[in-house]
């Protein structure tokens, strides 16, 4: 547990200097669109972009600073590295969600309100995405990772318009989620979290075990 805690702390310290800039940029960028965009969509885009950017910045810093090479000479378990990364995503998710809900409660910000169904849907999507993306970053390394992020940023508008065209499908899912009682939803999220953490830690460990530095 101590290892995981220290790994998470390390990751947040690595990007401490960038995180404020990122939030400011995002804040200013969303002001013009905030008024006319439904809360669910805005929240979905923001939370996905932020978790992605946070994770991405951590990976970049990590590869630039090379501390992971020293750690590879210690008995640190590679499974814990995977678990720590997936916890980072979850922690970021929780902080951003609370932040969004808080901000949207203030009328001045003009941010659309969101419901539990939006949070659960976003949580599910993000957890699944990172269960694949985290091991991938270990596999690919710095340069290829940079390319991927460029491509992802470039593709974002296309993905958003794709999602908008399928909006009915998403609304259906949201309505379905709304019918599920709260305790069941919480249980569902916890199960997802556990499954994703286990899977991320296993796949990450098997990639890291065979990695050369």
């Amino acid at each position: 547990m101590k290892q995981i805690y220290n790994l998470i702390k390390k990751d947040f310290i690595l990007i401490r200097n960038n995180i404020l800039i990122m939030l400011l940029v995002l804040g200013f960028a969303s002001i013009p669109v905030a008024k006319n965009t439904p809360g669910s969509l805005l929240y979905g885009v923001i939370i996905f972009m932020l978790t992605f950017m946070i994770y991405h910045m951590i990976s970049m810093e990590e590869m630039k600073q090379k501390g992971h090479i020293y750690l590879a000479t210690t008995p640190l378990s590679n499974k814990n590295i995977g678990i720590a990364k997936s916890f980072i995503i979850t922690i970021s998710f929780i902080i951003i969600t609370i932040g969004y809900i808080g901000l949207s409660a203030i009328n001045f910000t003009k941010l659309g309100r969101i419901g539990i169904e939006d949070v659960v849907l976003a949580f599910f999507t993000i957890e699944i995405f990172f269960a694949i993306y985290i091991p991938l970053t270990f596999k690919l390394g710095y340069i290829r990772l940079q390319m991927i992020s460029t491509v992802t940023i470039f593709l974002t508008p296309i993905i958003i318009s794709f999602i908008l065209r399928r909006i009915d499908f998403i609304i259906n899912i949201r309505n379905y989620i709304l019918n599920i009682p709260l305790p069941a939803l919480i249980l569902f999220c916890v199960i997802i979290l556990v499954l994703v953490s286990i899977s991320t830690s296993k796949t990450s460990a098997s990639i890291l075990d065979s990695k050369e530095y």
Binding site: G67, Y70, Y213
Partner: protein
């Protein structure tokens, strides 16, 4: 004396460089110096020992126990790498917290005593450390978890003589405790001259020799005399011949024979550096045949 590390038939092939058929052993209670020119393969072999690079072939037995798990092996090894490989944005204390949580035998008291001794500031950011300070910090981490084997890659390169001397003192202290061993690579022979018990010479991806330092030094001598004598000598007996208008000097392992034939030759002890250069010259020729 038991082997704390036994490396047999290790090979590793890269596109432009190969380590081939490495056979060496690191003895317990010994400081073993790993000597080679830049690019000879020292760092690669150390990375293989540390598990940072995977070997193509061969076998390594750690701590005389072929059944040890990777984790348990790493738990008993202290590491000082050339580039440090720390997270530059972290403070010494933050990095230490991360590292210490990975070892089963972390000794915070010992760590603090090294930090104090080296006059390091725990709140400082790692990127602001000088090369020498970074090495001292790495050493503090490496020596604070009761490691039995200390492995260092070029720990003295780029350091001033005072810091190097300090490192040598620390190593001498560390090695006094029974069951501790040190392996360190260097291309600076004077480091080894002071402190090494055994020397492993690596050249172009091959191990040329593993030998006690004293034996190596006793094998060769520096001879000096005038150029008339040089003309009478068999050049095959001489290495690193340095001839000027006023005389010559050379390294030789045939000094007893030469002294009998030419009593006027001055025979002195040779430096490890000259011996190393002469030795790599000899063995390169031998391996070429």
């Amino acid at each position: 004396m038991e082997d704390i590390l036994r490396i047999s038939n290790i090979s590793k092939h890269f596109k432009t460089f190969s380590l081939s058929n490495i056979n060496i052993s690191i003895k317990e209670n010994c400081i073993t110096g790993f000597l080679g020119k830049n690019g000879a393969g020292k760092t690669t072999l150390i990375k293989i020992i540390l598990g940072l690079v995977h070997k193509d072939e061969g076998n390594i037995v750690y701590f005389n126990n072929p059944n040890l798990k990777k984790r348990d092996i790493k738990d008993r090894i202290g590491v000082v790498l050339d580039d440090g490989y720390f997270y530059d944005n972290l403070t010494l204390n933050q990095m230490k917290n991360l590292v210490s949580s990975t070892y089963t035998n972390w000794n915070e008291k010992k760590y603090k005593s090294y930090i104090e001794r080296f006059r390091l500031d725990e709140k400082q950011i790692i990127s602001s450390l000088s090369k020498g300070m970074k090495m001292k910090y790495a050493l503090s981490l490496a020596l604070s978890h009761n490691a039995d084997l200390l492995i260092m890659d070029e720990p003295t390169s780029g350091l001033d003589p005072e810091v190097r001397k300090e490192l040598m003192n620390i190593l001498n202290e560390y090695i006094q405790e029974d069951g501790k061993s040190v392996l360190f690579s260097t291309h600076i022979t004077s480091d080894l001259e002071q402190i090494a018990d055994e020397i492993i010479i690596i050249n172009d991806g091959k191990i040329l020799e593993q030998i006690s330092k004293d034996e190596l030094i006793e094998e060769y001598r520096l001879i000096k005399s005038n150029n008339k004598i040089l003309e009478k000598l068999n050049m095959n007996d001489l290495k690193l011949v340095n001839k000027t208008n006023y005389g010559f000097s050379a390294i030789t392992d045939k000094y007893e024979k030469l002294r009998k034939e030419f009593p006027e030759i001055i025979v002195e002890r040779a430096s490890l550096e000259d011996i190393f250069l002469a030795r790599t010259e000899v063995l390169e020729n031998e391996t070429n045949i």
